[in-house]
């Protein structure tokens, strides 16, 4: 099975991506999706600017997906990450994992997100409502801690 990995400026459609993985595959019992949205950060955010490293972003997410496929018996795996300007309430990232059973689908999606956060070459900068460009979002220790759960 080849995972689907897309790095794109455009939005994505959750149902369409789930449909792509489940259509005509009736051995799938579990579908877990994670959608990451842009928060408004208490109303002060106008948009998030997402910078990425083209080429490496695809390669690194591909490596994380391969690790997930080796670890869990998955039927399908999709990861989509947007770049550019994303406004509060809009979608940033999607992971969908399908499997015969729910434990594999839950764990693989959780694992993918932990590694996307800490290893995929994306950086967020805040654009504030007052028109200024704020600072780069700082990496959080708890994201590293989350990724280290997987050994």
């Amino acid at each position: 099975m080849t995972p689907t990995i897309r790095i794109q400026r455009e939005d994505f459609d959750l149902s369409a991506e789930v449909e792509r993985l489940t259509a005509a595959r009736s051995h799938i019992g579990a579908v877990v999706s994670f959608t990451g949205l842009c928060r408004d950060e208490g109303g002060r955010l106008q948009a998030l600017e997402l910078e990425h490293y083209p080429g490496m972003a695809e390669a690194e997410i591909g490596r994380v997906a391969q690790a997930a496929l080796e670890r869990w018996p998955l039927s399908g795996l999709t990861a989509i990450h947007r770049f550019g300007l994303v406004r509060p309430g809009e979608q940033i990232v999607l992971v969908v994992a399908t499997s015969a059973h729910r434990r594999a689908a839950f764990e693989a999606a959780d694992f993918m997100m932990d590694y996307l956060k800490t290893r995929a070459p994306f950086w967020k900068r805040e654009h504030l409502l007052d028109g200024t460009v704020g600072g780069w979002v700082e990496a959080r220790q708890e994201d590293d801690d989350a990724a280290s759960r997987w050994g």
Binding site: Y53, M56, A59, E60, T118, R119, F122, W123, K124, E138
Partner: protein, 93 residues
Amino acid sequence: MSEAMIQTRPLKLVYFAWVRERIGLAEETVTPPAEARTVAELVRWLKSRDEGYAAAFADEAIVRAAIDHTHVKPDASIAEAHEIAFFPPMTGG
């Protein structure tokens, strides 16, 4: 590969986020001296070039590096590298 070859081989460097902003460049091609054999040694050489690099690498422990699209540690050899990237800790997802 002889040191003379290493010395003259041009190397593409790419920078992202605040590393890019502090250096003032998104990418450049450099020819580091032969004694710059690892990522850490390359950083040391870059820091000596001007204050933008010095500011970008002020806390060397925090800047991450990748060689040809793969994360590497500071002691990684740059001998076979074509493109080396420097960037802050990732904040995607």
